[in-house]
Symmetry: C2
Subunit: 207 residues, 2 copies
DNA sequence: GACAATCTATCTATGCATAGGTAGATTTTG
DNA sequence: CAAAATCTACCTATGCATAGATAGATTGTC
């Protein structure tokens, strides 16, 4: 997901250099991929020399790890916010799906999806964090479905774990297909298919 | 998809150099991504100098385009073979999904999925072919579902177009999630969810 | 001998990283 | 509290490896 669609750049130039570097790097990775951005791009973006970037992030691997650490924190924050907002399971899942829409409209991938595509070439610490992000997302979706079913909020058609895996896969893959289409077209479509199987528990509490 | 899981390297060294270059390049792109392989890697792989590669493929962009051209041909061949095999719609869809399993078991992405992730940095002719591949896959799946429904072979639960988009997205995204998991785990899961909505038209022709 | 396929040698551009320096703020301490 | 020490956040300059590409042999083959 794109939990980390950073809070709309607060006053932008007002942030400190490490934060600005992370912001720019994240944008570049989501738009172009890990192996297609350089310290030079980054330096140009925020107006310092490449050597200065090394002062804040010793190596590109460190920068990548920091990027994913922040993204993991953002995910936790986003999920916590959703959980605390007090909607039912379906509303929570819808809020989760919503986090992908902005990313799609920008023609980007999820930071984690982009890095997952480059997984074989990533420094190991970065790869580990990517895996952690995907696991955490999937677990949250699975648990949200399962709890919704248990609480009688949701009529679930299928195995919560399989549905969760499929939702994450189709959202990540959806962003891959989305570029060059109408904004939100693909996320809407895959979400529609998903929610057909996770319906509000309206009437008959049947057997 | 990975239609182009090249026919198991026939005698391998017996093929001509352009073919061996394409084979090696495809393997590298699927495993590592377009921006993470070089003429040097390729040269080392097949035992010639990088300069010799330029004799066969003037530029990396040419190589990329040739790679996608062949992959598009492979897709057409695969779909034609499936269509001619004479199974019903569900068998055809299952055969289509099967082409993703080998890719998953090798921890790779679909050539087209890998390139889609790097889309923003691709030479334009390559990007166009990537889009063409995705459209063609989606169209085939959609039509296969729709025809299956029309022929009374399939009980389709939802819009064929949305189901097709979701299937492709979840397969492509599935390969993204699959690395580091049990082989075929993710393709099986997303295919299972898909086929719940595209069931054999068994008994009651209902209304 | 002509053409195909490959080679050696080399070029320019770029990537990540390091060394070493500097201006200015902050902290320590006699 | 002022001088000394240290730290922060940059800089210039440079190194060394790799990337894609080119020119001009050389070799093999019909």
């Amino acid at each position: 997901m794109n939990a980390a669609q950073r809070p709309a750049t607060p006053t932008d130039a007002a942030r400190d250099t490490p934060t600005r570097l992370l912001d720019a790097a994240q944008q570049l990775v989501q738009a172009r991929g890990y192996n297609a951005f350089s310290y030079k791009d980054l330096a140009a973006e925020i107006g310092i020399r490449t050597a200065s970037i090394h002062y804040h992030f010793k190596t590109k691997a460190d920068l990548g790890a920091a990027l994913m650490d922040r993204y993991l924190d953002d995910l936790d924050d986003a999920l916590t916010t959703i959980d605390r907002a007090g909607g039912d399971a379906r509303a929570r899942l819808a809020a989760f799906v919503d986090t992908y829409r902005l990313t799609e409209s920008q023609g980007m991938l999820c930071l984690c999806g982009s890095l997952a595509a480059d997984l074989a070439t990533l420094p190991e610490p970065v790869g580990q964090r990517v895996a952690r992000f995907l696991t955490r997302s999937e677990t949250w979706v699975r648990d949200t479905i399962a709890r919704g079913a248990a609480a009688g909020e949701l009529a679930v058609d299928g195995d919560p774990s399989a549905l969760a895996t499929t939702l994450i896969a189709s959202l990540q893959g959806g962003l891959l297909l989305a570029r060059g289409r109408a904004p939100s077209a693909v996320v809407d479509v895959v979400a529609g298919i998903f929610f057909d199987r996770v319906r509000p528990q309206t009437p008959s509490p049947s057997p």
